[in-house]
């Protein structure tokens, strides 16, 4: 059972084709991580799947339904998407921002019901920002702010959450905390998580399913055992990677890598290093 399927998906900015004829599937109830070099179309793909960008061609299926036949509110009840470095209006408190996550479930004037309040409380608690509830978002540090946005996505209460680099701005322990939080949500509440990650080792450690992209094309996908190989990393990142098994976690880890010299960087030419 797949949560998301794409069929022959092509995405373009103006006339510039970023992703072409992509068929991808995101398995339900699993954690999927998308890896790939800068400007390869990861964020673009995530946005198209999250219907922020209109694809030039092709169809996105959400739980088997064509996404174009759903209203945007219906989609928002099933899928939350957190873009990269969003900006809060100045003067808003953390509690107010997280409460915005309940928007797709509200009608009319939108008074918060008990149920809404509970889920907001829960989101604040699991992201450990309860103590900041009445603080103005502008006054938080980068890492705290990132957790506020994740809390907002959680408050949306969807089974599927897409995140574009949720660990940016976070220090080592918070990176782990956020990923473990998402891991627990996946294991305990069976939520489907899709995220773009830059850190290969974290991507491999937390993923059930990995997708490696280069120049808007899928190079490989499947479980980490299949994707985290020197051959594929060479093809995707143009690196010579040394992969070993993490003695503590048992997952595949890249402990050292070198750049491969004298290899032309086709992607830079085709995608123009675009990372929008």
């Amino acid at each position: 059972m797949n949560s998301i399927n794409t069929e022959n998906l092509s995405i373009a900015y103006e006339e510039k084709l970023i992703v072409k004829g992509l068929d991808m599937c995101i398995p339900k109830g699993k954690i999927t991580t998308i890896i790939g070099p800068n400007g390869c179309g990861k964020s673009t793909l995530l946005k198209a799947v999250g219907r922020i960008l209109k694809p030039k061609d092709g169809i996105v299926y959400l739980n088997g339904e064509d996404i174009h036949n759903l209203t945007t509110k219906e989609i928002a009840q099933k899928m939350a998407i957190l873009p990269q470095s969003p900006q809060a209006p100045s003067g808003l408190t953390v509690g107010e921002l997280v409460a915005y996550g309940r928007f797709p479930h509200q009608k009319g004037f939108g008074k918060l019901k008990e149920e809404d309040k509970e889920i907001i409380q829960w989101a604040l608690e699991v992201t450990k920002i309860l103590e900041f509830e009445t603080t103005i978002v502008d006054n938080l540090s980068g890492g705290q702010r990132q957790r506020v946005w994740i809390a907002m996505a959680l408050a949306q209460g969807t089974d599927l959450i897409l995140l574009d680099e949720p660990t940016t701005y976070l220090d080592l322990s918070y990176q782990l905390e956020v990923l473990e939080l998402l891991y627990n949500l996946n294991k305990k509440q069976n939520k489907t998580i899709v995220m773009v990650l830059h850190d290969l080792n974290l991507a491999s450690r937390f993923a059930d399913h990995m997708v490696a992209i280069r120049c808007g094309e899928i190079i490989s996908h499947g479980d980490p055992e299949k994707v985290m190989t020197p051959e594929i990393l060479k093809e995707v990142f143009n690196i010579d990677a040394h992969i070993v098994r993490d003695p503590r976690k048992g997952c595949l880890t890249c402990i050292s890598y070198d750049l491969i010299k004298n290899k032309n960087n086709m992607c830079a030419k085709i995608c123009g290093g675009m990372n929008i």
Partner: protein
């Protein structure tokens, strides 16, 4: 080895784009200057009396005191064309600097409170000192413009000199509204609104050598200052934090830019009234042509601005002779369709 060659061509391509920009900018400046001189000469021949182009040449090299054509050229048309070019360059560069510093595509010199200040001074002159001489009125207007700018800057940097672009923009809008309302009130109460309007739409019609003697060194000096600052303005347009990180003294740059804008726009506003659209549209056009580097935007803006105002002034004199068509609206009407086109074309404005 094939692949390594490819990398090299790619690098060359990148350099080529960069150099291409430089050449485009240089070409625009040189061709623009040539075109500007031709236009100025052509503009001198037109008006209520047609004068052959050769006379323009003669005035420069074999001036004849008894030739009426020569006198018209020297006393009336020359100063007028020179004033147009100066004012155009000044408005355009002032606008470019304002947009770079505030990072707001809606910004122009009017935002510094200059136009409103000059208008305020003008209404006081007309209401209380109706017998003032022409040159005195112009000086008064300039003082008004300076007053407006000082007010805006003072309020924006009230606290420990923190004049962030946002505060500057907001203070500018509020001060402008305040001063222009005051002058509207004075004008209506003392019944001089119509006189002020006729003065304000007069454009460069009354320019004479006396004015140009005063204006010329200031505007040229400020234009050079703008070019010198242009690199810092490029850095500044990346945002305050990045600019500071790159070692720029942002507060200093803000103050210096404000002074340059004041001289450029203040002098122009007091001579021709508010010809707002030049400062708004020319920087956008320059950015469209030569990219986001203010080292090119500023000189290109100066040339294009001068051309625009010289053309507009030509139109003002020849569209409906012997009457003058007001130059400000003329520029706006020409500029609007073009600006609309740019607005559709541009993905990002800054």
């Amino acid at each position: 080895m094939v692949s390594s060659n490819k990398t090299k061509t790619e690098i060359k391509n990148i350099e080529y784009v960069d150099k291409g920009r430089t050449w485009v900018a240089l070409l625009i400046i040189l061709l623009g200057l040539g075109f500007l001189f031709f236009l100025m000469a052509f503009s001198i021949t037109k008006g209520s009396i047609e004068i052959p182009l050769s006379s323009v040449w003669d005035v420069l090299f074999s001036f004849d005191e008894n030739n009426t054509h020569h006198l018209i050229i020297l006393d009336i048309r020359f100063p007028r064309v020179i004033a147009s070019a100066l004012v155009g360059a000044a408005f355009a560069v002032a606008g470019a600097i304002m947009q770079g510093i505030t990072r707001n595509p809606m910004a122009d010199s009017g935002l510094l409170g200059l136009n409103a200040g000059a208008g305020f001074a003008l209404s006081i002159c007309f209401a209380f000192f109706p017998k003032m001489k022409y040159i005195q009125i112009i000086l008064f207007s300039f003082l008004g413009a300076a007053f407006g700018a000082a007010l805006v800057n003072g309020i924006a940097s009230f606290r420990r000199g923190r004049a962030t672009p946002m505060r500057l923009v907001l203070a500018g809008a509020a001060v402008s509204a305040l001063l222009s309302s005051l002058s509207q009130g004075i004008a209506l109460y003392f019944n001089v609104a119509q006189d002020i309007m006729f003065w304000a739409v007069g454009g460069v019609a009354g320019s004479n050598w006396e004015q140009i003697k005063i204006m010329f060194p200031w505007i040229i000096g400020a234009l050079i200052g703008g070019v010198i600052l242009s690199h810092s303005i490029s850095i500044s347009s990346l945002g305050e934090d990045v600019a500071k990180g790159l070692g720029l003294n942002t507060a200093m740059i803000n103050v210096l830019s404000s002074i340059i804008v004041l001289i450029l726009a203040g002098a122009s506003v007091s001579v021709v009234g508010t010809v707002g659209f030049v400062g708004l549209i020319i920087p956008h056009l320059a950015r469209y042509l030569v990219g986001v580097d203010y080292r090119w935007i500023i000189p290109v803006s100066a040339v294009l601005g001068a051309i625009l105002v010289v053309v507009a002034d030509l139109g003002a004199r020849t569209l409906n002779p012997p009457f003058e068509t007001p130059i400000g609206p003329l520029i706006a009407l020409v500029g609007v369709p073009f600006f609309l086109y740019l607005a559709r074309k541009e993905r990002r404005a800054l």
